[in-house]
């Protein structure tokens, strides 16, 4: 199997393994790739960097045979190729691990790896005799020869330091382990080039380190890896060279040893980026939201929020810090009327809103940027206009008699799309076609344009690129300056520290401490978050 490994990878490391020239790919209303050149060499980790919607994934989907380019050339190992399908790509030796894994949870690791492959019959089993040939036929049809496959999987796993048990069921594995199964799956199919789409989005920091160690080992053994990402520190740490795309165009390809985060951010966004949005000390005003000994159950009927008390004032950002799953989601759902309050009280400007219908809470002036944009914040199959209308649909401004006032709606949406710089060809396309950053802008535009007294922002920057993060953070601070009360829930402690005036630390459903940001530090908050200071 690996007989030819050495000469295969023994060639000059500088020759490009894959070369894409002048790739153009158009979708209705936008050009996802506009004359992009790209090349990756043997044995390198190549970062593909760009904002959400810059065309990274499209370019790689062309290489993997999922899309066909409108024009442009692809060559692999010096030969021009037209890759028609993922199967074709795999035959050439190109493997891809998608952001969303394509594994079957009920099957074992091994079964997932060999799924869809014709079993190869081991040499030792190909002895003479009738019985053997019958058995071989049987194996071929039913693919039951797992022994050979198992040996290979274990061999591959050891070679790259991937710890994996071939007979574990996939659903039992952590996300990081599932990713390793995806990688083994590609390697098992003899991939020489591995494309990873945003591999770290779902991983914990430890898992990220382990992944990068593994990729390093693979690169040293002559494999080529393309890493699609929008995280600057990752490309700088892990990659040899970096190609930056912006708005579907190639900006530049740089050596990571010779660049800095600042340079890359500038290439990616096209202007200077503030890594630290300025936060000024402010004086808090009247109390807007008051939560008093609140208890809320989670979906399993267990207490997720236990006796939480805090308040948010005018012109203040209160950050809720905590490891995810400590009751944050349940807490904000209860405030928004989307989850039952078991006991305790929520008051908004002195008026009790516990267990009020969501519409009433919305109409009193609570804005909510939900954590799950695609499933809660929007209906992806509806158009931009229709999604922007949500929560506004009862307003007299957009209703004339029994009918919705189409012209007024259109005017308002056009204004918002412009003001919030949503990049789209038309306001009548389904929201699902937009990139993550643009989707978040639509939600922000909709929530902020209602001028809420209280804005609840849950994970407002998660999954966004630097440009969009900066935009969202600036907007939140701008809202605070205008006297709005803001409740910020973020898994990113640095973000919480930077934006908040006060920080409420949540641990196992209890608000353990409320600290003034200027009187505390990252270490202290981190310690309380981990349950180290529970009274």
């Amino acid at each position: 199997m690996y007989r030819d490994t050495d000469d295969r990878f023994g060639e000059n490391i500088m020759t490009p393994l894959v070369k894409m020239q002048q790739i153009v790919k158009r979708f209705p209303g936008l050009t996802a790739n506009d004359r992009v050149d790209f090349e990756a060499r043997k044995g390198e980790i190549h970062g593909l960097l760009g904002e959400n919607g810059a065309g990274k994934t499209t370019l790689m989907n062309i290489l993997y045979g999922l899309y066909r380019q409108d024009s442009g050339e692809v060559s692999f190992e010096g030969q021009p190729v037209q890759i028609d399908s993922p199967r074709h790509a795999l035959e050439l030796g190109i493997g891809m691990v998608h952001q969303h894994f394509r594994l079957i949870p009920r099957l074992t690791v091994l079964e997932n790896v060999v799924l869809g492959l014709r079993p190869e019959i081991g040499v030792e089993r190909q002895g003479p005799g009738r019985l053997t040939s019958v058995r071989r036929k049987f194996f071929q049809i039913f693919g039951l020869d797992t022994k050979t496959a198992e040996t290979r999987v274990i061999e591959l796993a050891e070679r790259f330091g991937l710890k994996i048990h071939p007979h574990a069921k996939v659903w039992e594995l952590s996300v990081g382990e599932q990713q390793r199964v995806e990688i083994i799956k590609a390697l098992y199919r003899n991939a020489k080039l591995l494309i990873l789409d945003e591999p770290t989005a779902v991983l914990t920091p430890q898992e990220v380190d382990r992944l990068f160690d593994m990729l390093q080992t693979m690169a040293e053994q002559g494999y080529t890896i393309i890493l699609i990402t929008h995280k600057l520190n990752e490309v700088l740490n892990a990659c040899h060279r970096i190609t930056v795309l912006r708005n579907g165009r190639l900006v530049s390809t740089v050596d990571s040893a010779e660049s800095t985060q600042k340079d890359l951010a500038k290439l990616m966004v096209g202007r200077e980026v503030l890594f630290h949005v300025d936060q000024e000390a402010s004086t808090a005003g009247e109390e807007i939201l008051h939560v008093d000994h609140l208890t809320v159950l989670n979906d399993k009927g267990l207490e997720a929020v236990r006796g939480a008390s805090f308040s948010v004032h005018e012109g203040e950002i209160l950050g809720v810090a905590g490891v995810s799953g400590n009751g944050q989601t349940e807490l904000i759902e209860a405030i928004n009327g989307l989850r039952r309050v078991e006991s305790g009280k929520i008051s908004f400007r002195g008026k009790e809103i516990s267990n009020a219908p969501p519409r009433q809470i919305i109409e009193q002036g609570v804005g909510y940027i939900p954590e799950d944009r695609m499933n809660v914040g929007l209906a992806t199959s509806m158009t931009i206009t229709e999604n922007m209308l949500l929560k506004h649909q009862s307003s007299s401004q957009f209703n004339r008699g029994w009918f919705l006032d189409k012209t007024a709606v259109k005017k308002a949406v056009e204004r918002l799309v412009k003001a919030y710089d949503v990049r789209t060809a038309s306001i009548n396309i389904p929201v699902g076609r937009l990139s993550g950053g643009n989707i978040q802008k639509i939600i922000l535009a909709r929530e902020i344009s209602r001028h809420p007294q209280l804005l609840i922002a849950s994970q407002p920057t998660r999954g966004l690129d630097v440009g969009a993060i900066e935009y969202v953070q600036t907007l939140l601070i701008e809202q605070k300056r205008q006297g709005k009360a803001i409740l910020l829930i973020s898994e990113n402690l640095d973000e919480t520290m930077r934006l908040s005036d006060r920080i409420a630390v949540i641990y196992e459903g209890e608000i353990v401490r409320i600290l003034k940001t200027k009187d505390t530090n990252r270490r202290e908050v981190g310690l309380i978050m981990a349950g180290g200071l529970k009274d």
Binding site: R359, I362, E363, N375, V376, A379, L404
Partner: protein, 355 residues
């Protein structure tokens, strides 16, 4: 060689409008096989269907008569689909409508027609709406599938009317021993539009219902909220929309619309409640709604197509002596091609050679 399905990035309007026509043509082509097997010239058979259904004033009027219940029941299937709910209970709601109208007509014959007819409409609508409300409320309260419940409600309705016409509501003075209710008084008859045909005022109601539904779904806040619930119930709830209330309302309204078809059948055609008033309009309505793409105005057209098949089919039976079941086969083929056509509109077939 390999056959792949790939997502169409552009859905052209031409495809959208041509697809139903192509689907029907393909179904007719496929239906030619059984006809040829029975040694009947398919072209002659189809000509007979066409001339039978729209060759003369009788054919046209009969097609329209059959199109009325199909339109209303088709709308009753399509409307809840906007909120992503399946109403398979149009048949039962249709029967309940017939029952409601009959109950009013038989219990208050002394009222003048100007009052009695509207009361019959209201009575029928209410009975059907109640029948649609049950699966709706069970769905939102207890999360029970409205598909199953609405379907099962059909059997209850059939047996309920059966019981009535064999028992309490049976006409005891008639010479016949059929399970029919007494005839309605003359002023409880829904007027016919063209003398000498059976075409009645119901066609006006059906077309009006389609237009009103279209306007509600596309132009009003109520329709917007229903579409939001259908597109993503979680974001609808997040946006302050009372999803439970809307689902129940939609199901009940659908029940009422299907019931209007039943009202029309008894008030304009039979003038009495009979056990055999339901001849499967409520079930045929499901492919009618699908062929019409769930769009109220599309359903107007697709119900005409199905009605023409029904009427022309009997004509074909007379002309060639082929069983009328062939019409059911053609309808079934249309349904199959509709389903296949959905896929082909979303995806395109690509044949890859070599790999």
């Amino acid at each position: 060689m390999q056959v792949l399905l790939e997502t169409r990035e552009i859905k052209s309007n031409a495809i959208k409008f041509l697809a139903p026509i192509v689907i029907i043509l393909l179904a007719l082509t496929a239906a030619a096989c059984p006809l040829l097997w029975m040694r009947v010239n398919p072209l002659a058979a189809y000509t007979s269907i066409i001339s039978g259904s729209c060759g003369d004033i009788y054919g046209i009027s009969e097609t329209l008569v059959k199109a009325v219940p199909l339109m209303l029941c088709g709308l009753a299937v399509a409307f809840p689909l906007t909120a992503n709910r399946w109403n398979l209970g149009a048949e039962g709601q249709f029967i309940m409508g017939a029952f409601g109208a009959s109950a009013v007509a038989l219990s208050m014959p002394q009222l003048p027609g100007m009052i009695l007819l509207p009361l019959m409409l209201i009575g029928g609508f209410a009975a059907g709406a109640f029948w649609g409300w049950i699966p709706g409320i069970l769905n939102v309260r207890f999360n029970i599938s409205e598909i199953i419940v609405s379907l099962m409600m059909n059997y209850i309705a059939v047996n309920w009317v059966s019981y009535l016409v064999y028992g309490p509501m049976r006409d005891r003075h008639a010479y016949s021993n059929f399970p029919f209710s007494p005839k309605f008084v003359q002023h409880a008859w829904l007027p016919r539009i063209i003398q000498g045909t059976r075409l009645h005022l119901g066609i006006v109601f059906a077309v009006l219902a389609a237009i009103i539904l279209y306007v509600i779904i596309q132009k009003t806040r109520f329709g917007y909220e229903i579409r939001m619930v259908g597109a993503n119930p979680r974001s609808a709830r997040y946006g302050g929309i009372d999803t439970a209330k809307l689902v129940v309302l939609t199901m009940a309204a659908a029940g009422g619309i299907a019931a209007l078809a039943g009202v029309g059948e008894v008030a304009a055609l039979h003038h009495q409640l009979r056990r055999d008033i339901a001849v499967g309009y409520g079930y045929t309505a499901i492919p009618v709604a699908m062929l019409g793409k769930g769009h109220p105005l599309g359903i107007l057209v697709s119900s005409l197509v199905f009605a023409a098949l029904l009427v022309g089919g009997s004509n074909m039976q007379q002309d060639f002596g082929v069983p009328v079941a062939l019409v059911s086969i053609i309808q079934a083929l249309i349904v199959l091609f509709v389903v296949a056509g959905e896929t082909l509109q979303k995806y395109r077939i690509r044949i890859v050679r070599g790999s």
